[in-house]
Each structure stands twice: as structure tokens, then as C-alpha cells.
């Protein structure tokens, strides 16, 4: 049924476009896509390669990825204007990872990542407004301005972690709590190709496998740990195999459907009590490691341009939807306009919201604690701290 409509409208797409813009009933409601097969390790079979995506799903993925993209580009702008300070690690290019993962888990599941975390803060339930206000260090930021880019938290999202690799044992701890509490929830624990060489990750592979923790290890391999390419950092760049005794998948991280299917496969594996599983997502970041890195001394502009033109996750999704008549160019443009407005409003808010009051300086040292006195910069400066 879907294919019939699709082939009819394909031929009159040019002429029919203006008329069909408002009649959404003319769109294909769902289509089946052939996606790239994932490499498997210590598994008998991998995720499905024939997958269905509905129009609604496609529009949601598109909107979410576009919001993340625009948010990161706005952060770039604000950083260059010195309105955002310190560290700022941008996620543009990697949107399909965060969106694909969230599509196959529940908000009641848990997720933890490293410092390239703005996108995940959004997919886990943070609003653009509170994310941007945190970047600009204002009182309405998601962490009241006290955390900044690398330390954003929300329900079932454990940050935002600055120490490379430290989030991996933490993620296993969250998974341990899930198993302990018997709530059938799982934890998705992300780290990069650079972090993959950290000893504590191997300690975590061991304990997670030993105790069969409901943990999905995800290595977001964007080919560079800061300025060091994977070939120069790792004796084995088969990150999906480095869990040794943990089954692994290597997945096209630029295709939101590949990520979604692989996550679905991994989640089923965990929830059936089989223990941890490891997914390597092959992805790419357009920006340098952080805003202080132009990102071109260790890779070529040609490489960046090639990925942008051939593998951009948003373009891939857009082409799929348009060529299967799941949406119109106008409709997607409308979403772009809405997203731009949301980002612009959030940016306005983030630049005008006041900084946190000085009275807040010493708060949040301890939880559920009577107020205490904190020494200031000099002996006469006695500051107050409340929980």
C-alpha cells in the first residue's frame, strides 16, 4: 500500500508539491528500509537489516537531530563570542547515535556518558533552554550554573563526566543497582575511542560480565581521541572486540536506523539476563575535540567535507523520507524554522538570564545536612552552606 502511493507521487513530485504540502494523508505512513549489516563478535546473529520506520518516527528523529545540530552550532557561536567559557565539546555529526539509542530504550532506563554530553542531556529530557543556560553559566541552567558543559544531569541521566573513562565503572554501578532492585531496567554506558584504552574500562568489562550486569557498553568511535587518530592510539582498533568475552557489534553510527536496531538488539540481550554487550558506533564529529581545537591539524578538511557530503546523519534521514514520500520538503523546512526559533529563543534566554547569586556559592556540599559554615578566601569570610 505504501509503495503504491510512493511510486504514484514520485513522478508528479515537482508539480504536486505545493498542493500536497497540507494534505498529509497523501504521505506514506511507513516504509521498510534495508540498512547496513553490523559486524558481530561472539554472537550467532546480529540486528535486523530490514527495518520499518513510520512517518511519525522519521519526523521525530529529524526534529530531534536537527534540534541537537542547531543547538551545538549555536553553542559554537556563543563560545566564539566568549559568552560560553572553559571547555565546550560539540556533538555535531554524531546526532544519529544519541537519537538512535534513545529510540530503543525507555526514559526509565539509565544512561551515562563522558563530556561530549549536550546531545544526551537533550535526548534524556533536558530542555534546550536549561542546557544553553548551563553552558552560559546562568541560574536557570540545568545544574544552576554550577556544572557547566561537562556536568549536566537529569533523571536517569548521570552526566556529563569530565574524567576520561571514569563514567564506565559508574555506569556499571548503575546497572548493578538495576539488577539489585530487580526492576528490569538497564544502563547504557558511553565512552569514546580515546577512553577505550583506559584500564578501568577493562576492569569494568570483567566485573560486568562476571556479574551479568544489564549494561550496554557503547564506544562512540569518532576516529580521533582529541588529536590522536585511532591507528596511533590503539594496538587493536576493533573496539567492538575489546570486551574479549563480551559479545560485540560494530554499527554504522551515522545511520539512525542502524543505531536504533542495534540498540534494540542490545537491549533485548541485556533484559534477557545474558549480561553486558558492547556496541561500537562508527561516527564522526565535525568540530574539533573542543572549541579550542580547530580540528584540522591532525585530519584534513577534505575528510571532514567528505563525511559531511556523503554520511551526514540528518541528510541521510531526510533523503530517505523524501524519496519514500514520507514527508515533503516544505514540511521539513517548517520543522527547520521551528527548530531555529526554539534555539534562538533559548539562546536569548541563556544570554539574558542572570548569573547565579553569590549566596548560592557554598550550597550543595552535602545532601540532607543541617546548614554549615564554609571558610571563604580569608579567615573573616565565613560563608553559609545549605543542602
Amino acid at each position: 500500500q505504501g509503495f503504491f502511493f510512493s511510486s504514484v507521487f514520485e513522478s508528479c513530485a515537482g508539480a504536486a508539491v505545493v498542493m500536497s504540502a497540507r494534505t498529509y494523508a497523501n504521505f506514506t505512513n511507513e516504509a521498510t528500509f534495508e540498512i547496513k549489516k553490523s559486524d558481530i563478535f561472539k554472537l550467532d546473529e546480529g540486528p535486523a537489516t530490514q527495518v520499518v520506520m513510520t512517518r511519525d518516527e522519521g519526523l521525530q528523529y529529524y526534529r530531534t537531530m536537527q534540534t541537537m545540530r542547531r543547538m551545538e552550532l549555536k553553542a559554537d557561536q556563543l563560545y566564539k563570542q566568549k559568552i560560553i567559557r572553559g571547555f565546550c565539546h560539540l556533538y555535531d555529526g554524531q546526532e544519529a547515535c544519541a537519537v538512535g539509542i534513545e529510540a530503543s530504550i525507555n526514559l526509565s532506563d539509565h544512561l551515562i556518558t563522558a563530556y561530549r554530553a549536550h546531545g544526551y542531556t537533550y535526548t534524556r529530557g533536558g530542555t534546550v533552554k536549561e542546557i544553553m543556560a548551563e553552558l552560559t553559566g546562568r541560574r536557570s541552567g540545568i545544574a544552576k550554573g554550577k556544572g557547566g558543559s561537562m556536568h549536566m544531569y537529569c533523571k536517569n541521566f548521570y552526566g556529563g563526566n569530565g574524567i576520561v573513562g571514569a563514567q564506565v565503572p559508574l555506569g556499571a554501578g548503575v546497572a548493578l543497582a538495576c539488577k539489585y532492585q530487580g526492576n528490569n531496567e538497564l544502563c547504557v554506558c558511553l565512552y569514546g575511542d580515546g577512553a577505550a584504552n583506559q584500564g578501568q574500562i577493562f576492569e569494568t568489562y570483567n566485573m560486568a560480565a562476571l556479574w551479568k550486569l544489564p549494561l550496554i557498553f557503547i564506544c562512540e568511535n569518532n576516529r580521533y581521541g582529541m588529536g590522536t587518530s585511532v591507528e596511533r592510539a590503539a594496538a587493536s582498533t576493533d573496539y567492538f572486540k575489546r570486551g574479549e568475552f563480551i559479545p560485540g557489534l560494530r554499527v554504522d553510527g551515522m545511520d539512525v536506523l542502524c543505531v536504533r536496531e542495534a540498540t534494540k538488539f542490545a537491549a533485548d540481550h541485556c533484559r534477557s539476563g545474558k549480561g553486558p554487550i558492547l556496541m561500537e558506533l562508527q561516527t564522526y564529529r565535525y568540530h574539533g575535540h573542543s572549541m579550542s581545537d580547530p580540528g584540522v591539524s591532525y585530519r584534513t578538511r577534505e575528510e571532514i567535507q567528505e563525511v559531511r557530503s556523503k554520511s551526514d546523519p540528518i541528510s541521510l534521514l531526510k533523503d530517505r523520507m523524501l524519496s519514500n514520500n514520507m514527508a515533503s520538503v516544505e514540511e521539513l523546512k517548517e520543522i527547520d524554522v521551528e527548530v531555529r526559533k526554539e534555539i534562538e529563543d533559548a539562546s536569548q534566554f541563556a544570554t539574558t538570564d542572570p548569573e547565579p547569586p553569590l549566596e548560592e556559592l557554598c550550597n550543595h556540599i552535602f545532601h540532607n545536612n543541617p546548614p554549615l559554615e564554609v571558610r571563604g578566601t580569608n579567615p573573616w569570610s565565613k560563608l553559609k552552606s545549605v543542602s
Partner: protein, 331 residues
């Protein structure tokens, strides 16, 4: 109920009662389960509570400390044992950056109710890599509470308080104290007996000099005080109980009475607990009551040697405390 209890039993009973009281509490560390604990502190707990609540870990301090912290973030109340605090250095990033700082960085969204416990400081003949005192290192950091019990009642009440506290607590035990029996008060019988964290205890009243100490050396101070009393010198002995937040009010009140202060600790002198007490006293009202500079009695500023005669002379002895008190009093 025997009114004398060895410290190791006090710790064991405290954990047993807290495990029973709250099913979110669990213990993890090397050899805590089937070995009954490297020093037998967790004897019998695995038999009673099983694999789910008492977890033997592989030798992976950084990994399992991180796992403990993560589990606390997700709603459990872990007790993470380091076989000795020397091994906590492998995991110190998780204690400081993941546990201590998170409540602040998240502006109160994410709390970390965890206890890190284990033996700290010098033992007997275990040499340099196994004898360091970490009180000063951990007490340096905001976001942590650091507790150092002396006797069995301290151990019981402070461990219960630490487990019930919704914040990261570093609980510094002392291996040489495990087998020492102490009298327990009637009120410490209660399953809800907790000693408040952040409050020091005056173990002995005195008028001529204030001795401030923590852990094992409180006992040394009391022994020194008994000897000095025969010579007419009455020492007031304060048991810190908590290193951070330190109860400076109790110290100040005592110094304003005795006019003399001697700190006693097992750790190294530089940037140590005694150094901090000196600084705090200088910044407060008690400074004007001092008749002499504060004296610090500390471990010798060297890695711990092995030979008994050398080891004995690397930590404060009772004679060192007596000597220092007399020098401070100029007698």
C-alpha cells in the same frame, strides 16, 4: 550483652544491624564475603546475607570503587571496603571526582550516599607501601566527610552514622585497634545508636594542656596523661572522632581554658591534621589564650621502615607525647 567489645566486633555488629535495617545497604570489596574479610571485620555477614548483599570483587579498586559510586547514584547505599587505604590511591579519582564533587556539580540533583571504609595508617611490620595515613589527603576535599574512630563505641556509632548519612563518608579504621576491647556504654546497645559526625569528644578533663588526637593515638594521649598526672600535670584529652568537618569549637573552648595545645597524629607532619589545627587555632579566638605556640606530635617525615626498632621510632610514642607536653609547658 558483654559490656566489653573488641573494636572489630563493634564494626561487624554495626554493619550487620544496618544491613538488616535497610535493604539498600550492601558491602563490596576484596575478600569481604567468603574470606569473612581480610581482617575478619565482615565475618559471618556473607553467610547471613548472601551474594546479593555481600560482594567479593576482583582486584580492581578503580573499577569497583566506581561501580560502588554508580550504584549509590542509582539509589543503593554501598559500603565500599578498601583492604587498606593504601589501595584507595588506585581509586582516588572515583572517591574525589565522582563521589565527593557530584552533589555540588549537579547543584543538588545527584547525591552519593556511600561509605568508603578500611584500615588506615601504620600497622606492624608492613613497611612503606602499606603504612600511609590518608586522613589529611581526604580531609582536604570539600564534599567528603572523613571520620576516624578511636574506641569500640566510636566505631559502632560513627559507622552507623556514616552508613545513614546521605553523603560520601571516608571511614578510617586502624588495624592495630581491631583486637582491642573497650567498655561500651549502656546507651550504645540501641540499634539506633549513632554518634554525630562532626562532633569531637573530651575523653579526659584537664586544666594545664589540651591534647588533640584521632584514632589510635587518643589512647597514647590518655596513657601519657596518666603518667603526667603523677607529676601534677593535668591534660585535657580530646578525641576528634571526625576529621572533616572538624569540631574546632571544642578545641577552642579547651584551649581557652588550658592555654596550651599539643596535637598528636600518626600521619606525616607536612600539610597534616595537626598543621590544619594550628592554622584554625590561629584564625580563631583561642589564639589570644595561647601561652606557647601549638606543638605538633606526628609520624616521622619518612616512608615507613620495616625493622621493628626503626618502625617503633617512626611513629609517636607515649614518651614523645610526654616530652612534647613538658616542652610546651616549659617544665
Amino acid at each position: 550483652f558483654n559490656s566489653y567489645n573488641e573494636e572489630i566486633n563493634a564494626l561487624n555488629q554495626a554493619m550487620d544491624e544496618e544491613l538488616e535495617r535497610d535493604e539498600r545497604v550492601f558491602l563490596m570489596g576484596e575478600e569481604v564475603a567468603q574470606y569473612d574479610g581480610a581482617y575478619k571485620v565482615s565475618r559471618g555477614l556473607w553467610k547471613k546475607y548472601g551474594d546479593k548483599r555481600i560482594i567479593d570483587t576482583p582486584i580492581s579498586e578503580m573499577g569497583f570503587a566506581g561501580i560502588a559510586v554508580g550504584s549509590a547514584m542509582a539509589g543503593l547505599r554501598p559500603i565500599c571496603e578498601f583492604m587498606t587505604f593504601n589501595f584507595s590511591m588506585q581509586a582516588i579519582d572515583q572517591v574525589i571526582n565522582s563521589a565527593a564533587k557530584t552533589y555540588y556539580m549537579s547543584a543538588g540533583l545527584q547525591s552519593v550516599p556511600i561509605v568508603f571504609r578500611g584500615p588506615n595508617g601504620a600497622s606492624a611490620g608492613v613497611a612503606a607501601q602499606h603504612s600511609q595515613c590518608f586522613a589529611a589527603w581526604y580531609a582536604h576535599c570539600p564534599g567528603l566527610k572523613v571520620v576516624s574512630p578511636w574506641n569500640s563505641e566510636d566505631a559502632r556509632g560513627l559507622l552507623k552514622a556514616a552508613i545513614r548519612d546521605d553523603n560520601p563518608v571516608v571511614f578510617l579504621e586502624n588495624e592495630l585497634m581491631y583486637g582491642v576491647p573497650f567498655e561500651m556504654s549502656e546507651e550504645s546497645n540501641s540499634k539506633d545508636f549513632v554518634i554525630p559526625i562532626g562532633k569531637a569528644k573530651i575523653e579526659r578533663q584537664g586544666t594545664h594542656v589540651t591534647l588533640v588526637s584521632h584514632s589510635r593515638y587518643v589512647g597514647h594521649c590518655l596513657d601519657a596523661a596518666a603518667v603526667l598526672a603523677k607529676e601534677g600535670i593535668e591534660c585535657e584529652v580530646i578525641n576528634l572522632r571526625t576529621i572533616r568537618p572538624m569540631d574546632v569549637d571544642t578545641i577552642e573552648g579547651s584551649v581557652m581554658k588550658t592555654n596550651h595545645l599539643v596535637t598528636v597524629e600518626g600521619g606525616w607532619p607536612q600539610f597534616g591534621v595537626g598543621a590544619e589545627i594550628c592554622a584554625k587555632i590561629m584564625e580563631g579566638p583561642a589564639f589570644n589564650y595561647l601561652d606557647a605556640p601549638v606543638t605538633r606530635v606526628t609520624g616521622v617525615d619518612i616512608p615507613m621502615p620495616y625493622a621493628k626498632i626503626l618502625e617503633d621510632n617512626s611513629v609517636p610514642q607515649i614518651k614523645d607525647i610526654i616530652f612534647s607536653v613538658k616542652k610546651t609547658l616549659n617544665v
